[in-house]
């Protein structure tokens, strides 16, 4: 089994829903106008907090959105071919209320 397969086939469908308040140790900025909607960042995110939006940018591309739980690991930045991400690590983790 290959390295990429190991990550599981369902990853680009979006994160598994979790319950309770979620802690973000980091966050990202996304230059959505530059995004071409390739979805490479989605499975690259270890905590699976990136999800493709249903909206489109002015080039017509769907782009990723961030759900709570980012660790600031930077994987998304590394894999993005369009230089969309900037990574931040919080001095103090930030807590979010999870969605229903």
């Amino acid at each position: 089994m290959s390295r990429t397969q190991r990550r599981g086939p369902d990853k680009r469908r979006g994160p598994v829903k979790r319950r309770g308040p979620i802690q973000s140790r980091g966050t990202v900025t996304i230059d959505v106008e530059r995004c071409k909607g390739c979805e490479l960042c989605i499975p690259a995110c270890p905590p699976e907090v990136l999800v493709m939006s249903t909206r489109r940018n002015s080039m017509g591309a769907e782009y990723p959105e961030l759900e709570p739980g980012c660790t600031g690991c930077g994987a998304c930045l590394l894999v993005c071919p369009d230089f969309c991400f900037e990574i931040f690590r919080y001095e103090e983790p930030v807590l979010h209320e999870a969605s229903a």
Partner: protein
């Protein structure tokens, strides 16, 4: 008879397929035809134009035309350069559902067709282009509906056979929609 037609839209709307269907329909009618597609890069939403020349003798017009007798606009984004090429009395079909902005009031015969809406109503949202060329055929009588359907069947690759019926419906819908209006159009002096 030598008439130049330009189609314009954005990537994904099916402009090239529509142009090819018109071209093949013209072949069915025994006409001479020339077709050239142009694309503005690979991105979704980019420019996509097609030029068609149809004639009953050897075509004299070069592949890049500077003046066109008719135009089909699926989208407004890249319509401007075509607008400057319109001959006096040109027939212009507009996809009213999407097209934003006005067309300068010159000696034009502008026909507005809610192609995207009509296609959506047919449950075939990607068929808007079919509606528009159906309407164009009816408006200009350049090709008949049977030729159009034949051209369509030849232009759809084998692995897209599932779209044949929906496309036929869309073509007929566009054709029918305009048929009624043709008499008035002719009266108005529009020529293709």
């Amino acid at each position: 008879m030598e008439c130049e037609i330009m189609l314009t839209g954005i990537g994904g709307q099916g402009i090239q397929l529509a142009a090819q269907i018109l071209a093949r329909a013209a072949v069915h009618e025994g006409l001479q035809v020339m077709y050239l597609g142009t694309y503005g890069g690979t991105m979704r939403g980019g420019q996509t134009d097609a030029t068609l020349v149809v004639a009953d003798e050897r075509i004299l017009a070069p592949p890049l035309v500077s003046h066109v007798g008719s135009a089909l606009a699926m989208h407004h984004a890249f319509f401007a350069p075509i607008e400057t090429k319109l001959r006096a009395g040109a027939v212009v079909l507009i996809n009213e559902s999407v097209f934003e902005g006005d067309i300068a009031g010159r000696d034009l015969c502008v026909l507005r067709v809610p192609a995207t809406a009509m296609a959506a109503d047919l449950g075939h949202p990607l068929g808007a282009c079919m509606v528009l060329i159906g309407a164009f055929a009816a408006a200009t009588e350049l090709v008949g509906i049977e030729s159009l359907l034949g051209g369509m069947r030849e232009s759809i690759p084998a692995y897209r056979r599932q779209n044949l019926d929906a496309n036929e419906k869309a073509l007929r819908e566009g054709y029918g929609q305009l048929e009624a209006g043709v008499a008035s159009l002719r009266a108005a002096g529009g020529k293709a």
